[in-house]
Symmetry: C2
Subunit: 351 residues, 2 copies
C-alpha cells in the first residue's frame, strides 16, 4: 500500500488525472491473490475462474452519502473498509467464502485524488485482511454526493449455500458476537457532531468508546464464523446477516422459512460498552440490538442435534428457537411476558 498514488504532496485534482489516469493509479496498487482471479482491473470485464463443483454467490450493495454515511465523522479510509466488509458479510451469510469484489465510485470534483486514495486504501485493506481480490470497477463523477457500489462474489460447495428459507420447527436460533454496538457508536458520533455544530471549539469526546465506535465505523464481516461452522461440522438450516437489526432479520427468516420464533431477551449478547452507553443515553440495550442494525453478525438456525456444539462456545449465543409453521415471532421478556416482534428496522425511504 505504501507506494499507492505517488504524488503525495498537496492536492491532485481529479480533472487533471482523468478517469483513465485514476484507473491506472488504482490498478497499480491492486494485486490478485485468489487462484480464481484470472484477469483484474483494466479490461472490459474481469475474468474469474469458478472452482469445480462450487456455486457462485453474488451480492451487491449501494452506499450513498447522507443516507448510509456522513463524511463529517466517517473517515474516508474507514468508509472504504466498511463498504467492502458490509458487502462480503452477505456472502458469509450464505455460508460461502468471499473471493472477489468489484467496486464503483461516483464522486464530485470536491474530492481530490488523495481523497479517492483514502477510500481505496480502506477498500484494499479490507480486501487484504479478508483475502478477497478487487478485480474491477468503475469510477465516474457525481453532481451530488459520493456514491459507492460494491458487488461481491463468493464460492460454496454445490448445493451447500445456506439461504433464509431452510429453518424448521425446533431449530435453535444462534447469533455470533454481540449486538447493538454499532448503533451506540452511531449515537456517540451523532451527539459529538451536534455539539461540534453548536460550538466548534469543543473537541469531540470519543474516549473510552473505542469498541462501539469501531463497530460503527469499521465493522467486520464474520468470515471467521463461516470457517468455524465448517470446523464444527455444523451446516445451519437458515442464515442471514444482521444489517438492519435483529427484529428485521428474524422476521425475514420467519417469513422465508415459514416458522415462528421465540427470542429470549435475557440471552441477547451485548458488550459492556454497549450497555453502559445505552444507559447513559437512556436507551434500552435490547432495543439497540433489535432495531439498531449494522452489527454485521450472523444470525442462523441449527438442528437441535447440534445444541451441544454451541454450549459455552464464546463465539456464539443461543438466543431462542423456532416454533411451528405459521407461528409468530415473539420476544420472551426478562419478566416472562411475551411481545410480538415487529420490524422497526430502518426504513430508508422515510429518512
Amino acid at each position: 500500500m505504501a507506494d499507492m498514488f505517488e504524488n503525495k504532496d498537496g492536492r491532485t485534482e481529479l480533472s487533471e488525472l482523468g478517469e483513465f489516469g485514476l484507473i491506472e493509479e488504482i490498478k497499480k496498487s491492486v494485486t490478485l491473490n485468489q487462484e480464481g482471479s484470472i484477469l483484474g482491473i483494466g479490461d472490459d470485464a474481469a475474468i474469474v475462474r469458478p472452482t469445480e463443483n462450487h456455486d457462485t454467490v453474488v451480492s451487491t450493495d449501494m452506499y450513498m452519502e447522507g443516507v448510509h454515511f456522513d463524511l463529517s465523522y466517517a473517515p474516508l479510509k474507514h468508509l472504504g473498509y466498511k463498504t467492502i466488509t458490509a458487502t462480503i458479510s452477505d456472502i458469509c451469510a450464505m455460508n460461502a467464502m468471499p473471493k472477489q469484489v468489484v467496486t464503483s465510485i461516483a464522486l464530485s470534483n470536491r474530492f481530490s485524488l488523495e481523497a479517492v486514495e483514502e477510500i481505496y486504501k480502506g477498500m484494499l485493506l479490507a480486501c487484504k485482511l479478508y483475502k478477497v481480490d478487487l478485480v474491477g470497477g468503475d469510477t465516474t463523477s457525481s453532481t451530488g454526493g459520493l456514491a459507492i457500489s460494491v458487488t461481491a462474489f463468493g464460492e460454496v460447495e454445490k448445493n451447500k449455500a445456506v439461504t433464509r428459507s431452510g429453518a424448521q420447527q425446533n431449530n435453535l436460533l444462534v447469533v455470533s458476537g454481540d449486538l447493538g454496538g454499532a448503533y451506540m457508536g452511531l449515537q456517540i458520533l451523532e451527539r459529538e457532531k451536534a455539539i461540534y455544530k453548536e460550538n466548534p471549539e469543543i473537541q469531540p469526546d470519543l474516549e473510552g468508546n473505542d469498541y462501539i465506535l469501531e463497530r460503527q465505523l469499521k465493522p467486520e464481516a464474520r468470515k471467521d464464523i463461516v470457517e468455524q461452522l465448517a470446523d464444527m461440522e455444523v451446516i445451519p438450516t437458515s442464515m442471514i446477516d444482521i444489517s438492519d437489526g435483529l427484529a428485521s432479520e428474524v422476521l425475514h427468516l420467519c417469513k422465508e422459512s415459514n416458522v415462528g420464533f421465540n427470542i429470549f431477551e435475557d440471552k441477547i449478547p451485548h458488550d459492556h460498552q454497549t450497555i453502559d452507553k445505552a444507559r447513559e443515553f437512556n436507551l434500552d440495550p435490547t432495543m439497540t440490538a433489535m432495531n439498531g442494525g449494522e452489527d454485521y453478525e450472523l444470525l442462523f438456525t441449527v438442528n437441535f442435534d447440534d445444541a451441544e456444539k454451541f454450549r459455552n462456545n464464546p463465539f456464539f449465543t443461543v438466543i431462542g428457537h423456532t416454533t411451528g409453521a405459521g407461528e409468530q415471532c415473539q420476544m420472551v421478556a426478562r419478566d416472562g411476558s411475551i411481545h410480538p416482534i415487529t420490524a422497526q428496522g430502518w426504513n430508508h425511504f422515510t429518512q
Copy 2:
C-alpha cells in the same frame, strides 16, 4: 410485465412501501430463465451455478443523473433499458455470453413507485430480449440525484475470453454496425432541450431522427455479433466495446496490445442519418465516430487469414489494421494525409 406493480392508479409514495415492500414488488415481476440461475432476488445473495469448463466474466458500471443521463429527455424506461445493455456490452466485448445481472438503484423521495416501476420495466425488457436474468440488487434512497449501478456476469469457454491485449502485427481492425449515431442523437436532444427551456410552448422536433435518437436513448449490446463470430469460426485477437468513441477505444487496444494502428477515414461506417445530421450541425461525421461515444459497437482485431470472412459482410466493416510494436495510432485521412490519434474521449471529471 403486465402484472408488475399492482396499484397503477395515481402515485404511490416509496416511503409508504418501504425498501422491503419495493423489493417484494420487483421480485414478483422477475422470472429466472437461465439454467445457471439457482436463486434470485430476496436472500442475502444470489446463487449462480457456473457452467463446467467455462470462465465467468464480470463487469460493473455506475450511471449517475446529471452525468450519464438527463431525465429531462431520457424516459425512465429507456434509461433502465440502457443501463442493462450498456453493461452487458462489456460482457460481449470479452467474446462472452451475458447470463445474469444485479442492479442497484438509489433514488430520492421525488420518485414514486410508478417511476421505479418504469426503470425496472426497461431493465426487465432488456433482460428478456438478451436472455439475461436479474438475480439481485439493492434499492436505497439518495439525497441527491438518481444513481444506478449494474453488474453483469457472462460465461465464455475456459481460456477463450478475448481481452484488449492480444492484437498482433498485421491484424485487421474490424468494427460492427455504424458509428457516431448516438452522439448525433444526443445533439438533437440537447438542442431541443435548449429550445424548450427558452420557450416551453414549442414542441420538440424529433421527427425523422428515430434511428439516431434510439442509438442514444435505447442502445443495444452486440450479443448477436458474439454469436455471429462463433458461427463464422472467428476468434478475435483483441476486442473492446465502443463506449467512449473510436479514438479512445483504439488507443486502449494500442496500449494494452503494444501495437500501432492505421485507421482509414473513408472506411468508418456511418448511417445516413448520422451524416445528414452532422452536416446540419456543422459537425464532421468522422469526429462523431472518433469522439462521440455510446455507440456500443464492438471493435476488434482478427488475423489476416480471416480477411475473406469479413469481405462484403453487412455486419462488419474492416476500418484499418495493426502496425508494428510500439508504433503510433494514426488516421489516414481521405486525402491520404496522416494524423496521430489522440484521446478526445469524454473526460468525466472535467464535466
